[in-house]
Symmetry: D2
Subunit: 364 residues, 4 copies
């Protein structure tokens, strides 16, 4: 019923792509964590359009203004609220979209839900731009998990447009950001670029999959029911616009597996219990088991494409056509990579606080 998620760490977003600005609030973040505005900016940059020819060339000015949550450069236990201002380009184009909803986009459901009061400009609060505060706030969670617990979260595109790039996990969370396509290695990056060039030339878009692995996640996170690791992660992940599926470990491949293969057998390694395989993606019975957390999500092709599409004029209730002009992302999955990564960090930090694995006031 609300624009808020999380239990012990609550995250909420507000605003829309056109208007006073967009922002977010992270409530329950431990006190005593140093603010590094440069890192936050760097993360925002990773999500921003216009960083390569493989993303939308739209110009967004993502200057983050931190309203609250810090005292003397450290988090002070109160909500961290940040606002990113919009530099509104007045677009006549949106007038047409108001009456002629884009296929595959939430234009029409905003109309269903809020009628004439809907926020329709540029997708209103269903714009992908709403993920900017997720990245800004989530990067703090990402850094905290890394710095205090050595938890590394890495997200990358492991397949695009039907090509699967293999099972290898990049060694470093920074690796995917060395490639404009957010793939995990040079070869996949090259293949993706070829595909994207062709997609761009047609004015079309393409879907892709993002895999995320988190190392050094402590055992015992999550609750058996409803607040399981899977439930907690999927609740925030499914709020990323365009994300239509989440699978943990072997996920949908379990459909063709036998128990004798799927069961991850235990062994002892250096005084700790590990599993030889990790088909369960680090989660058993909803609770983390100390193995790497491993899951995949699918991002559908960008709904805004530079091709003529059939739609309906909702005022006249008659069929019409639509040609979205302007610059769109050929593959929104690319810019979704840091969003998935930062969403994961927010959910994991919440689970850490719930499970009392982290103090509410850090010892520095």
């Amino acid at each position: 019923m609300s624009f808020t998620t999380g239990l012990s760490l609550k995250f909420s977003i507000f605003g829309s792509s056109h208007g006073g600005g967009i922002g977010g609030s992270l409530d329950g973040f431990p006190a005593g964590f140093r603010l590094d505005e440069d890192r936050m900016k760097m993360w925002a940059q990773r999500r921003k359009p216009g960083s390569s020819i493989y993303t939308s060339q739209r110009k967004e000015d993502d200057t983050i203004r931190i309203i609250s949550g810090f005292t003397g450069g450290y988090t002070d236990g109160s909500p961290i609220t940040l606002v990113i201002e919009n530099n509104d380009s007045i677009s006549k184009h949106y007038d047409y979209l108001k009456d002629n909803p884009r296929p595959g986009h939430g234009d029409i459901t905003l109309f269903y839900k809020y009628g004439k009061y809907r926020n329709y400009k540029g997708g209103g609060f269903l714009s992908g731009r709403m993920t900017a505060p997720i990245v800004a706030a989530g990067s703090l969670a990402l850094d905290l998990l890394k710095e205090k617990f050595g938890i590394e979260i890495i997200s990358w595109i492991d397949n695009m447009g039907g090509s699967y790039f293999g099972d290898a996990i990049p060694g470093d969370p920074e690796d995917p950001y060395r490639f404009e396509t957010r793939c995990g290695d040079p070869e996949s990056d090259r293949l993706s670029k070829d595909l994207l060039k062709e997609v761009i030339s047609r004015g079309d878009s393409v879907g892709a999959g993002i895999r995320t692995v988190a190392r050094n996640v402590p055992e015992g996170l999550g609750e058996p029911f409803f607040d399981s690791v899977e439930s907690s992660l999927s609740k925030i992940l499914f709020s990323i616009p365009g994300l239509k599926g989440v699978e943990f470990g072997s996920g949908f491949s379990f459909q063709q597996m036998r128990g004798s293969t799927a069961n991850d057998t235990f062994y002892v390694d250096g005084g700790r219990i590990k599993t030889r395989t990790n088909h369960n993606g680090g989660i058993l019975g909803g609770i983390s088991n100390g193995m790497p957390l491993d899951f995949r999500v699918v991002m559908k092709p960008t709904s805004s494409i530079h091709m003529e599409q059939k739609t309906v004029n909702i005022e006249k209730m008659e069929e019409s056509t639509l040609m979205v002009t302007g610059r769109h992302d050929p593959c929104i999955a690319i810019r979704a990579v840091p969003v998935v990564q930062c969403s994961t960090a927010i959910a994991l930090l919440d689970l850490m606080i719930q499970s009392q694995k982290i103090d509410r006031v850090l010892k520095n």
Copy 2:
């Protein structure tokens, strides 16, 4: 942090497979809905083991005792609480399992989380038996949605062990219950039975996928962020033991699609706006669009198999072997079908109440 899910309709479960009983509470259910204990029993029956050779032959006595929530045979607006008693078979087998966790099972994470205080008998509160109250309570939601709104939810197995049974949607929610395998048609049922016989003969288990379609879902359910239809459904679905993935509409197939195909184009039909395809599974921007809700989940193979497996003795911290005796399900997906269906009903009814599509006191 709790065994509760839902916002305006809260559902919680308690108990474990061994001990005083298991139960659930459904808080916020509209007043004025007639109790039909026979239907509730029928639904409980559909989840129970022992109903065919293709499920576990374990004997469970699922007599449902309704503690509260009804006055004069109608819901009275207070929490509907029900308890299902256990008829405990004292099992020495569980003593071995206590120290030697089953691979692929939550035995080990219960140990991590609760240590020596864990509820370990028969999987404790990670037992599949915990889904019995989901079905008992959820069947009320299912019936209410059907009776008052014509919303039909149908769930069935559409693939098993690598065989995909096609895209056809059964015409009637009762259809899958005509087949012991909960498939959608006689041919799929036959194929599944052949596969299951072979799996049973080896003492192994097999994974499968369950598809769910809900017809007549009103437009405008769900919120743009965090309480979206996808988020709300996945939160409860991922609490079903053994469920490892959820995809909406075309789901992971979006990975190989282009926007020009994936976008569901609009047209007008009888004064209503519909889409020619339903790749988005009835949800755009997190909000229902009036097309059938359509999603799939994957159930991993039962972790308890009748084969020797490698594990670790957690007291001695040394490797050991384990042979689970007793009767297990060759494919838990079969008994999970009504659980998925009833979980969907609970989540949908919550969304209906949140969106004020249903009155808290029914007009009869």
Copy 3:
């Protein structure tokens, strides 16, 4: 919207005074606390009617059945659910009450809210009997706080019917239970008994005030806004039927005070900061300050009295009269004492868990 309170420790109640039973569930209680059924029974006994001539002579059989939450005699981290069965006396009297609501009672608001579907027998789920699960479950919180943290919560009647019995705080939480009137000393008990005899002889009832002091509450509990100690306590306290006011520390006496007197000045005592007075009742800025938590509540006179009263026949919409027969409490405050005390324990334990002052798995 629900019958649940609490954040990290969730407490819910269900059932009604007539029907299958009443019960409660305490979800989030730390694992590893030993069950002492005799103590739980003793606490239930303290709330039960019929324990003296100064309470209702109604016979209730409060046998507590624990459904879940314990393994091997210790809490196991899962919800503690308990059910108390009703031994329904069929009462024709309730038929009259159905149409002629008792003045001062929730009969009429149940009618407003749920119409013909309301649970009307014996006050339905607005019966004082609903507090039985609060005491049963809350006594566990009370014992845990005492045993692990030395936190002592003491509640007693400090005034009745206009007579104020003074500021002295009983030395021991058991003291008030030495008196049938739950006063703090023999003299107050004697005065109250004289008053109650007179009240009983008239068939009337009388109001009273209950004071609660909790010693050894750690500093730092509660949040600055909305989840403050005051907010958390008052949320659960105001659910006790008949409770109409809550004041912390000097409470409404602050109205006539000056800041120079009201401010509790600090001093150092044994390496700890204390205040010379405790006008703020142990809470500053919503957060506990290490001084005793100190608050008072008011319980209105029992609404059911043995005197003819004017009411309205809600079917005929005409004025009528009502004479409540049967046995009622001359002063519900007496039986509310353990309810206030146990509610306080539930709220405080929740604040302890939220503030991470207590481990979710106890070290024994």
Copy 4:
């Protein structure tokens, strides 16, 4: 655990009196309500210091910047977020306060809770300035309730420093704002001013009581337990800094009453059931009964006084003295009047939405 309250209408605050600003977010407000910035400003003005000699002469610039929630001048269903910027006066005085906490103030509990990371300047996020967003956002709820439902909420000071000004309820919600002391009539205003002049001359402060009456509240709001009208209101009210008690209807006067007097007898008036008295303040069994909602709160004397007080230097752990300079409120209750009124509006609107008495999208 968070800076958020409310269920279907969530309200959160952020920021502090010194730093980037303070703000609030109101999530779940119905779509379709027209923004009237002038009215919002007028309300902000009523809470601001410096409006008369009877309040602090501190200069605060409460320019409200609306970030989100409006489209085309109407609420659009998304969170209404507003930010009020601080114009920080660098104050050396706060350096002394950092180590020497003010008696009666939350300075010390912030230290206990957040240690060296606390936000200490000007009370940090325990400053009374945190109530500015409550008034700004709450005024929208106030106006909506009035405009669409005729619900009028009126708050005024009915006693100060020991003088009680009588039971009369002002006829108009605007009345108290005709008096600098927020009393309900000229005579009480005059008496209060005399008292305040004396208090100011001593550098002291004084406590007072605020009564609130809401007319035309529909019947059936609130839930029997935990989300009762009393629980919902008290949860938000107890977050107002300095508020130490809440009583409904006759409140603590019930202590000396008999049931025969306290019970509000029913009668029929114009086809509706009313009560001849309203000792229960419009609430029975936690649910509104259609009579005016009536409650009182107590505001303690401002803790910051212009007199030397004993405190403790928390760094040296030795006793010290403190003389708060600068301008303080002689009676914070005066500026708390609109805060209580607007908090009531937020809580009532939430109860209206929960009870489905108001549509999420308004029909205009």
